[in-house]
Symmetry: D2
Subunit: 371 residues, 4 copies
């Protein structure tokens, strides 16, 4: 076979490490023929024992405890950074400067300045870069994008998006790097809110103004202070004239992974809920909403999968996303607009920062995107 | 029988006139024994022919084209004002000063100043006064209130409420008094938004701050300018510490009468949708949501109705509300906290005005309620 | 006004008495102008005190404890029989022979023989006769019928209908006439199953064969034996070639009033649930199901009601049904096919009897309808 | 590592071949540590080119066009038969006689006699045998089983199960082996109905009697006659006293992969829909139904997957099922009762045959299971 081989180095072996590795391994046989053969060269993390076991489990050739050993490896063409937010910039820039294509988990950085610097540094190298807003790769979301691009919703009036979880509503839930501003930058805003912001930008267009309110309901966990937000609420205005709301919370009892949005346009509406990710609710004109099970061969990505009606799961967004990256590398295609570039990652951070500023200033904040 | 008789005078005979008359007629036999016998004395409106037919249809003894003939009538003990917002203050104050108990449709007035003056003038007379936020009288909403009062949700963290309709998304929909600021005061904000604000106050507590954004998507209908908002978005903060969003739109294609809210507390969550008004979604702790059909004899109001499982409709909120008013009159009970008083009507207007101010100022607005 | 007046005599004042009276009183002002003015002449029942109070409550001119005093009254043109099944035949026949139009609750009789005799006796008199299968008058059901008549579903392949309640699953629930074969004829089959059978016939067409299985799960309640079925299951074949299932149960924990059906045709499908009676689920071709809120002015009956999106309740089926009867009387229009005649009542009993026969014989039973 | 290695030989490389291979490959790293390392030794099929490509794609060491080369291979310890129903018996028996553990797709055979012979022949060899009723391995279904085993539903009264698809409602859909009785045995009954039968047996218990009706709506496709059923309807009685309905159709427009059931017991109810396979609807007592998202670590199988709220897909049933088989082999544990043995496969066929017999005889058929 004439398929190229892409060597992958990964930083991070826990939740996201499993999800990305699974995506890379599955695309080898579910998307046939795949754009490239994937060679799992090295996986990195701080705990030698754990990363060694992860390498065995996931099939990487070796484990590393120093990320430099990964970004320096000439056998690696794609560097996939899944570390905590504070570890996004330095390794990713180093990898790009070493000529490797790069993937970085969201949020791209702890704030817009850091994200902008990361984007600029990487963009200057000419490598492909993707910020892993994987929910762009839910088939229902891609279908929504295509319907909106085709004008099926007409002029967009409203976007209302939420990302609701409940794992911190229990005051005895333990602290983690996700509740520490030094490592995470922010809380629900960066972790969940940037997904909603990215969906808003992907589906409706650029956000031009926000107001926002952050809140921390439980100020300490164990013996550690909680230095990030537990939840936030925002109003948003779009360049195209639409208005809406964006929010996220880790305190929404009974909601597990409820990234939901509804979009109302002059010709119809769409609604989505990640807990039922195989479905898109479609209202044509002012008729009621049709529950469409997005499992047909003519839907985005569906050729990879099963006969109509056989639903997929959360993890498959990574298969689609990583396929997109490999295809972009091998065939020199752009990551955007269907994949999120580092510029998209930066812009989401710019919106998130404006929400933080508005919380402090009490003012509606205009958003100025840097080039 | 020893039941007292209450003479009713009504101003307005269209949509709301039908709804209130139906409520008054039905409670006579559905709530048994009713607090009072109702005598439909007079109904008023500007079009003599139409109001005369309405009197025949609904069983009023006479029709009037001058509201003064109603508020002056000594046979009337209860004045029910269903006119356009610009006709709320003067007749209602006159009726109260004539010693009649008063009901006034929502929004109580075109702005907070007018609402405050109306409340103060009426409160000084000592009559009973109810602002017809009828959705307090949906059984599911009353049940929600009772659960929250009993502490079943713990500390409240979030309220997200919307009232979505789509009857103006068609740009050729005609103008009406509802799209004219002089008659209506505001658009979606006063008509729909005040319902959401009242639900928020009724269920979660006093709102202390807002940000807001209003928008008019279609600037003229027929040959008339649209001088009110088509939609608005707001963030809200409550005195008790919860944060949330409130919005309303007449441009949400596919949504017909979707007053929806979700409340998340430290011990559970509740969710409601007026399009399925017989149901309350209840999450106890972090379990999933239970769809409870609110039709059991131990639910609020249900003794008036049918065996468990036999659902009621939108109109029945008025039966409950008017029963509440008659009971308050006959047994000298307070309208609040389960019914909305004119103070509640005023407070909703204060929140609405703050949303308008925030739209203009670009600032988070604190809300100061006048005594 | 030139509207005729129809004097009504009613037998039964409990659950169904309330529902029918409410229908008669409401249509006077909700359906405008109504086909006739209704005069509530007499209401009958065995308990003098109770029926006297009911007459006061509902506005009947007098109360009677002997049904003959009603059927003999020349002021009465419409006799509405809501008594237990064992009291359907004799009073109804007497009323018809006295020239009164007749309504009789479902099931029309305790078995097909009795129903056939009742139908024949009444049909011979020339009066209008309606068997109160009120769910034909749910707007969503009428819309379904009209869509099927217009060919929008193509050839019908399947009907699956259930009527599930749970009020007997508690073994300590008390006995009533509904659990006594002498008074009720059958249990879930006659009470709930005939509704499903009537929906099947109304929407899909004549049933030609069945198999069936009845079951009584709790054999005694209090000190009385349960002599009727608690539940049944059946397969059905239609003359037009469709096949399906029909069942009913009073033991379906968590289901309160769940009359549900789904119909699959060669061009699309429809689904309905009485617990959400304002909605019809519509699949056009093999697309997913659209939840249509049946509240638009061009839907059946909706001109009687409120603006789009303002839902109605269970009780309104009786308003529609009784309006239909008055219109048929005043304008000499047929009760069928949209209303159920006594022939429809008889045919439902013929199907129910065949289910009982099949339970005993272990055979698929053909159904032969008598003329 | 001391994990044993299990060599796998697979017959069939299309839809089910992909699904099983994916399961085998994923369990290697998702279920950690896996019970065994899997070696994909050989895959077989009739088309040399296609099976050779499949071997490359899925990672099998070699491709075979004669199944005997697989069942004779001493490197293979597990034979996974995914061929058409007519190819189930001979290769599976040969493999078992060669000492290999065996998996066979459902339905186990084209009829009960063939299934019985297959079961008996294999059981005599002492190898592990699983009939691939994979829906036993949906987490929601396993949870339902465990709740019922624990008595949470009390005595079971009803089971109503359907499997609805719509891929044949289009009369121009082409013929396949699935519409040919010689290869498939039956149509919707064997393909879909046996899944429902297995769910009924797994959750409620043994079926003792049935009535049934089969139908073929389109008698020819292309130039081939359709010799199997397009749909069937059945009533069922269980040994434990419950009654219910079972049906399947390939003509249910708008239903894609809707395996649904509801179970009503004396203490509560459960409901499931494969199109929303991450959810179980639970009614405790007669309360309403709670939508539980089955993604928590204490749910069956969930330790293999992602944090709470991150849903899985249809394909993951095979991961669970194949893990179960490997665990049974390595640790000498039984396949049943959580996995379906060949005896379960045979018993499902016995029920299916009784439905066919009842269709022909017009009689309720008792089911006698052979030992």
């Amino acid at each position: 076979m004439s398929r190229p081989t892409i060597g992958v180095g990964m930083l991070g072996y826990a939740f996201m490490g499993r999800a990305h590795t699974n995506g890379l391994r599955k695309l080898a046989y579910m998307t046939w023929p795949p754009p490239a053969d994937v060679r799992l060269v090295a996986i990195g993390g701080r705990n030698r024992e754990a990363v060694t076991e992860a390498a065995q489990r996931f099939g990487f050739e070796r484990a590393e405890t120093d990320w430099r050993a990964i970004v320096d490896d000439p056998e690696i063409q794609l560097f996939d950074n899944l570390g905590p937010n504070s570890l996004h910039s330095e390794p990713t820039i180093a990898a790009a400067k070493a000529g490797k294509h790069v993937i970085c988990e969201k949020p791209l950085a702890r704030n817009a300045d850091e994200a902008h610097a990361l984007w600029q540094a990487v963009a200057g190298t000419g490598v492909k870069h993707l910020c892993a807003f994987n929910y762009r790769f839910v088939p229902a979301v891609r279908l929504a994008r295509q319907m909106i691009e085709a004008g099926e919703l007409g002029e967009i009036h409203h976007f209302r998006g939420s990302y609701l979880q409940d794992w911190l509503v229990d005051p005895s839930a333990p602290p983690s790097w996700r509740t520490d501003a030094a490592q995470a930058g922010s809380g629900a805003l960066g972790d969940l809110g940037t997904h909603v912001i990215d969906q808003a930008r992907y589906l409706v267009g650029e956000i031009s103004e926000v107001t926002g309110r952050l809140r921390t309901f439980v100020n300490a966990r164990g013996d550690q202070p909680v230095t990030v937000d537990d939840a936030f609420e925002a109003t948003v205005g779009f360049e195209g004239g639409a208005i809406g709301t964006i929010e996220a919370s880790r305190f929404a009892a009974g909601r597990k992974n409820a990234l939901t949005w509804e979009i109302n346009g002059s010709r119809g509406s769409l609604a989505f809920n990640l807990e039922r990710l195989n479905e898109l609710q479609i209202s044509t004109g002012t008729s009621g909403f049709t529950r469409r099970l997005v499992t047909e061969a003519d839907d985005p990505f569906w050729s990879f999968w099963w006969p109509d009606g056989h639903v997929i799961g959360w993890e498959h967004t990574f298969v689609h996303e990583l396929h997109h990256v490999l295809d972009a590398i091998v065939n020199d295609r752009p990551i955007g607009p269907y994949g999120a570039t580092f510029e998209d990652g930066y812009r989401a951070s710019e919106v998130a920062d404006a929400i933080v500023r508005s919380d402090a200033s009490g003012r509606r904040e205009q958003i100025i995107y840097r080039g």
